[in-house]
Symmetry: C2
Subunit: 192 residues, 2 copies
Amino acid sequence: MGKKVIDRRIQRTRQLLQEALLALILEKGYDAVTIQDVIDRANVGRSTFYAHFQDKEDLFLSDFETLRAQFEQHLLSQPATDEGPWSLSLMMFQHAQSQHRLYKALAGKQGGNVMLAHIHKYLAALLREHLKSSGKRKGLVPPDVLAHYLVSSFMALLTWWLDNDLPYPAERMNDMYRQLTEPGVMAVIGDS
Amino acid sequence: MGKKVIDRRIQRTRQLLQEALLALILEKGYDAVTIQDVIDRANVGRSTFYAHFQDKEDLFLSDFETLRAQFEQHLLSQPATDEGPWSLSLMMFQHAQSQHRLYKALAGKQGGNVMLAHIHKYLAALLREHLKSSGKRKGLVPPDVLAHYLVSSFMALLTWWLDNDLPYPAERMNDMYRQLTEPGVMAVIGDS
DNA sequence: TACAAATAGAACATCGTGTTCGGAAACATA
DNA sequence: TATGTTTCCGAACACGATGTTCTATTTGTA
C-alpha cells in the first residue's frame, strides 16, 4: 500500500490551504478573507477544503498548531537559564523574529480576535508554571490578575513590534518588557 | 413644524436598537449577533434599521459614542488630582463600576475586536497628553511603546475585572494597576 | 491494466446582507 | 375633524458566502 505517498498528497493540500490563508490574512485581514478566496488562491476544490477542515477557524487553528510546535521545539533547543517569565518572553521574541511572517499574520492586527485569544490562553498556561515556583506573595494582587497582566502586556509589546515591522532586535524588546514589568512584579510578589 | 416630537420618535428608535444590541451581545457575544436578531428584539422594521445605521458596526459604534460622552462628563465632574495616568485610570474604573452593564458588553470578552480597538485608540490619545507633560526620559523605551504598554495593561485589568463581574471595588483595581505599572514606568522615564 | 484514494467542481439548499417600494401609522397643523 | 408630512413596517428582491452532495477525473499503487 502506498500510504506514504498518499499522505504526502494530503499534506501538500493542507499546506497549500494554510499558506493561502496566511497570505490572504496579510493582505486583507482575517475577517475579510472568505473561504472562496482561500480555495481560489490555493487552487483547491471546494469539497476538498471541507474534506480537510471544518471551517475557516479550523484552518486558522491548524496554522496556530504549526506555530506552537515550532515554538516548543525552539524552547527545547535553548539552554534553560531560568530567570522567571523573562527567559520565556525572550525566547518568544526571538522566535517571532525568525518567523516574523508567520507571527505577523497570526498575532498582528490582521490576525483578529481568534488567534490572539488562543495565544493568550496558551501563554497563560505556560506562565502559570513559572509563577507557581515563585516565592510567597503579599496578597495585594491576586495571582490570577498577575498572570493576566503579564501575558497581556507581553502580547502588547509583541503585537506592536510585529505591526511596526520589527524596528528593534528581539533582545531589545525583551529588555523593554523586563524593565517595564519586573519592578512592579517584584514589588507585588516580594523577591524570594 | 413639530420637529421636536418627530426627533423624539427617531431617538426612541435608535435607542431601542442600541439597547437590543447590548442585550444580545451580553447573551451571545458580538460576532454571533445578526442584524435580524437586533431588529426582532427591538421590534423595528428592517428598512428602518438601515435608515438609521449603515451596518452592525455602525450601530455598535453609536453605543461607544454614548459611553464616551458619559465618560467625559464623568471626567469633568471630578476634581483634577493630577498624579499621572493613574488618576485617569481610576476615573475609568469608577465609571465602569457605575455602568458595568454597558462596559461589560463593550469592553468585555463578548464585545469582540471592534470595540476594544476603538477604546484602545481613544485611551492612547488621552494618555499621550499626560505623557507629554512628564519629564525627560532616558530613551530606553520609546514613548510609543510606553503608551501602548500602559493602555494595554490597563485594558487587561479592566476586561478581566468586567468578565469576572467586578470582584473588587474600583479603587482596589486601580491600586493593583498602579502597583504593577508605576515602578517600571518610573524607572524608565525617570521621575521628575 | 486494474484498483483505490484523493481531488475538482457543478448543483443545491440555506442564511445573512443590504436595497427598494407601497401602504400603514404617528404626529402636526388648521 | 380633515389634511399633509414624517416615520415606520414588512414584503419582495438580488446578491454573496456557507456547507453539503454527487459525479467525473486525476493521481498514485500493484
